[in-house]
């Protein structure tokens, strides 16, 4: 891309990212005041946790089994807590909480390339050389981040991610990436913080001359960014990233081994546990990545022995945990990858890319859960007759509705082009009731 032009900037670019993350001393006071009715406020704060399955999960083996078909594969379906909804036998714990979850079994999304599929599912738009669309986490950050005055952490956190783009909403809404242990790249260590304090004091002195030199607002904005970065690093809300830390004021406890085990002692499970903590302190959008789904070979062994046990633990734990804390109705869960996988089993006992008929899972968020919306035909190769086909925009419009973001919201691209939220998708009627 043209990285060479107009790299002049303005203060807005500097400052927007900080608007939601600004932690000042008065804010801290405000925060402690806020804790008095923290439970009330928090329980009403909407959030979304996206479980992103990079590579494209074989939903035919997880959510929409075809035991009677030659495409059915090795797994059997089992009943769930939701009457009439069956899922894979390797998801037994998830089956128990399925009255709080739902399936959309008639996704038909036409993009079967990893990059294009990811872009389409995360933005609701197909890639286009004229514009970069924001991923949904950036949209939520843009829409809800500004109202979270007490939030000191960026409004869009991605655990183990990094590929998502904020597009025309500006990089202030780009994902704040951490790994599943809560490590933030280049964050200072505890002992490093003291040294950093001394250095920043010196920087403050050094920078003041250039700020007063009559060169516009940028030199001051540079200083503000450093102050804000330091404030974030010293924010007590950072405890949300560290599962071993307790902060009663924030409603965070040090997570017990039992709790860690419940989520699963793997990257995905620990990422979800951290996501719950982030939602507790008010982060409106957390994305947790789980990779390794591009199963062109040996699909059943990999699913049975590796992917599904982790997935089952993670999904069941976050669902039950949020519910027990009274947070589930305000936290919408979305599980998806860039596409599904071919119903036909290939010569390597794998499944290839397939976008024509596959499933997305949703849950919580006050949706009418415990159901499977839409259906595929008996071999899973197309959407069943009479079943409505859904696009990513419909999923995200449903999320918008669950989060209280007006579905008819229109954003404006940098070239002044109107862009409908979720590409003008429609909330899924069955789920919003």
């Amino acid at each position: 891309m043209s990285l060479w032009n107009n790299y002049g900037m303005n203060r807005r670019h500097f400052m927007q990212h900080m608007a939601t993350a600004a932690a000042t001393v008065p804010a801290m006071n405000f925060l402690s005041h806020l804790q008095a009715n923290a439970d009330v406020v928090k329980s009403k704060q909407k959030a979304c946790i996206l479980m992103w399955m990079g590579g494209g999960p074989p939903t035919i083996d997880i959510w929409d089994l075809k035991p009677e078909s030659k495409n059915g594969g090795e797994f059997r379906p089992i009943d769930t807590a939701a009457p009439g909804v069956q899922i894979s036998e390797h998801m037994p714990e998830t089956a128990k909480v399925f009255n709080d979850l739902s399936l959309v079994r008639s996704m038909s999304t036409r993009e079967a390339d990893h990059g294009r599929g990811r872009y389409y599912m995360q933005t609701s738009y197909v890639p286009n050389p004229t514009v970069v669309h924001p991923t949904y986490g950036s949209v939520v950050s843009y829409e809800l981040g500004k109202n979270r005055k007490a939030l000191e952490i960026p409004a869009f956190v991605s655990v183990d991610g990094g590929a998502g783009q904020a597009g025309f909403l500006g990089m202030t809404h780009a994902p704040f990436v951490v790994d599943n242990t809560g490590r933030i790249r280049n964050a200072p260590t505890e002992e490093g913080k003291q040294r950093l304090g001394a250095r920043l004091t010196m920087l403050d002195e050094i920078e003041s001359g250039f700020i007063k030199s009559g060169r516009g607002e940028l030199p001051k904005a540079h200083q503000d960014v450093y102050v804000n970065a330091k404030n974030l690093m010293t924010s007590r809300q950072m405890a949300a990233f560290d599962v071993s830390k307790a902060d009663a004021g924030l409603g965070l406890e040090a997570e017990s081994q039992a709790m860690k085990d419940q989520y699963g002692t793997n990257g995905f499970g620990q990422g979800l546990l951290m996501a719950r903590r982030l939602v507790q302190v008010g982060v409106p959008f957390v994305e947790v990545n789980m990779g390794g789904w591009d199963l062109h070979a040996g699909v059943f062994d990999t699913l049975k022995n590796q992917r599904l046990p982790q997935l089952d633990k993670g999904i069941s734990a976050i669902t039950a945990d949020l519910k027990a804390r009274g947070m589930l109705d305000n936290t919408v869960l979305v599980w998806m990858g860039e596409f599904g996988r071919t119903p036909r089993i290939n010569q390597d006992v794998g499944r290839d890319h397939w976008a024509a008929s596959w499933s997305v899972m949703m849950g919580g968020g006050g949706l009418k859960n415990g159901q499977a919306v839409g259906a595929t035909d008996k071999d899973g190769i197309q959407i069943a007759d009479g079943s409505k086909a859904y696009l990513p925009g419909d999923i995200w419009a449903t999320v918008a509705m669950a989060m209280g973001i007006p579905v008819n919201t229109v954003h404006t691209s940098k070239r002044g082009r109107p862009m409908k939220l979720a590409n003008g998708g429609t909330p899924i009627q069955e789920l919003i009731g």
Binding site: W4, N186, E207, A229
Partner: protein
């Protein structure tokens, strides 16, 4: 800009009078002992353009001054040598000057030292490296697109800039390239634009935008909303790129016996006749290869990219070729932070240039100089506008393109360092380039790793601002705490701090060294006394104090911005 001021003739008469007297002031007010009037620096004029009465250097300054007059502003003063030397190094060779380079320039009393330095930097190997980086990024991005060889792309540009090949030849090589991605590195541009099987849509959009400064991609789907371009224009351009094929070769890895990726190549594939596209109404249309009204034989066996290459230097009416205009606009923008249009790659009737006559004249001279990139750069950096300070005040505060105003170039605009400039400057400031560790290969590898961190953390905005330092927490953390910054402030043997600390000298002298190494200037008396006060708090931990001072200088706004 030239319109909208009904009484500007009157103003400009007045303006001219004070501007002329102001021009004297500019020079005499300059603290730098050896500052000269820019006109004196202008290299030999090449007025090969027919009808051009005013020499180019003068013409540039006149046109820019006209804008100041029309808008009733007074330009800022000429930049001091300290400000200018840092700027010219960053803009031309992509890094700050070393301590020795800065001192040598500042101590030089020759009145022609600025033009001498420009010439010497244009011959510096870092000039080649800098422009190779810039154009490789433009062509293939900073990420790692699949099946693209950055090594191949860089090799192509390194040779091109080292030989100062004419720009039109470089672009023709790129847009017509075929073959192995390391044997003919130019193909990597095409490979990078072929990530999707999209019938050359991305390649079409990028080629017109990058090399012609035209954003025809909107017309992929509909007629342009703001200008006369029709939908067929996109597909006419696209039809030039339908004969592009690629082969991703595979080979057996002898160790594992498995197939692994080998090289990729661009090949010609048969395509003739029109391309088909759909109107919004659903009606199918055809488009034949056509370049600014010039028809190309759509028959069998014609290599359309070769034809496209031949038409690149074509010009319509009395204008310079679009190829030249696009390069002039982009190059101007490189030095000033803003081009004549905004964005620089969206030229056309819907987006008038801020200084249309200047853009035309420069473009024509560029054509007349046989697309000589170094010559174009010389003209720009020798201009009065380029020599101005970035400080501004009441008398030209409306010249603020960051606030959305049209640039008037009455002062230098702050530019944020690009990631590569930041890396290379930190290396230079901390002497890491001299410690001799690892050699060229290892250093390139380290630079790539640092860049990769950038790409992951920051490749998330539209086009142009993703890798500048523009104020996100991850960026600030990277500057504050990264391994690179640690190294830059290390006191191990061979580092700048080690050298400076182990050389005898007063505290005052050491503070001056640190300022000179990081900011290419001497600290003021006030600054020295403030720093001394801060250092005194460190007691017998003085070394820590110097480390923290150097850290603060390298993290300062003055370091991060090109000014």
């Amino acid at each position: 800009m030239q319109s909208g001021f009904p009484c500007f003739r009157f103003i400009s008469c007045l303006g001219l009078a004070w501007l002329l007297s102001g021009a004297d002031l500019l020079v005499s007010a300059d603290e730098a002992p050896a500052a000269e009037t820019p006109a004196a620096e202008t290299p030999a004029e090449t007025s090969e353009v027919a009808g051009a009465e005013v020499p180019l250097g003068e013409f540039i300054d006149q046109q820019i001054r006209q804008g100041w007059q029309d808008n009733e502003i007074t330009a800022s003063e000429i930049a001091s040598d300290e400000e200018w030397v840092r700027r010219i190094y960053l803009d031309l060779v992509g890094r700050i000057p070393t301590l020795e380079e800065a001192r040598a320039f500042l101590d030089d009393e020759s009145p022609r030292k600025r033009s001498v330095l420009i010439e010497s930097l244009l011959e510096n190997e870092d000039y080649v490296r800098n422009f190779t980086t810039i154009w490789s990024n433009n062509c293939i991005g900073r990420g790692a697109p699949m099946r693209v060889s950055r090594t191949g792309m860089e090799k192509f540009f390194r040779e091109a800039f080292a030989k100062n090949r004419p720009w039109n030849e470089i672009v023709v090589d790129i847009v017509t390239a075929s073959g192995h991605y390391e044997e003919n590195g130019a193909v990597n541009y095409t490979l990078a634009q072929m990530q999707n099987a999209d019938e050359g849509v991305q390649l079409t959009a990028m080629t017109t935008r990058l090399f012609l400064g035209l954003q025809v991609q909107c017309t992929q789907c509909h007629n342009h909303p703001f200008n006369k371009w029709q939908q067929d224009q996109f597909w006419e351009y696209n039809s030039f790129f339908r004969q592009v094929g690629k082969i991703d070769h595979r080979k057996v890895d002898p160790k594992t016996g498995r197939m692994v990726d080998d090289f990729s190549e661009v090949v010609w594939q048969e395509f003739s006749g029109p391309v088909y596209y759909e109107k919004r109404s659903g009606v199918m249309q055809v488009a034949f290869p056509r370049f600014e009204g010039m028809e190309v034989d759509a028959g069998v066996g014609v290599d359309r990219r070769v034809e496209f290459g031949k038409l690149l230097t074509h010009s319509v009416d009395d204008s310079a070729s679009q190829l030249a205009q696009a390069m002039v606009n982009r190059t101007w923008s490189h030095f000033f932070g803003y081009g004549f249009t905004r964005p620089v790659d969206d030229m056309g009737p819907h987006n008038p240039a801020s200084h249309p006559e200047l853009l035309q004249r420069l473009s024509k001279e560029f054509v007349a100089a046989k697309y000589d990139v170094k010559q174009l750069i010389r003209w720009i950096v020798a201009s009065e506008a380029y020599s101005l300070t970035s400080q501004y005040g009441e008398k030209n505060k409306i010249d603020d393109p960051a606030a959305g105003e049209m640039p008037l170039f009455s002062h230098m605009y702050l530019k944020s360092m690009q990631a590569e400039q930041m890396y290379d400057s930190l290396i230079v400031a901390s002497n890491a380039h001299k410690s001799g560790k690892g050699g060229w290969g290892a250093q390139e590898e380290q630079r790539r790793r640092w860049m990769q961190q950038f790409v992951v953390a920051f490749e998330n905005d539209e086009n142009d601002e993703s890798t500048t330092f523009n104020g996100t927490i991850p960026q600030a953390l990277m500057m504050m705490n990264s391994e690179l910054m640690d190294k830059a402030c290390s006191v191990e043997r061979g580092s700048f701090l080690f050298e400076s600390m182990s050389t005898p000298g007063s505290e005052n002298q050491k503070i001056q060294d640190l300022y000179m190494a990081a900011l290419s200037r001497k600290p003021t008396k006030t600054e020295i006394s403030r720093v001394q006060k801060m250092l005194s708090r460190y007691g017998n931990q003085k070394l820590n104090g110097y480390q923290d001072l150097f850290w603060a200088l390298l993290n300062s706004n003055e370091f991060v911005f090109i000014h």
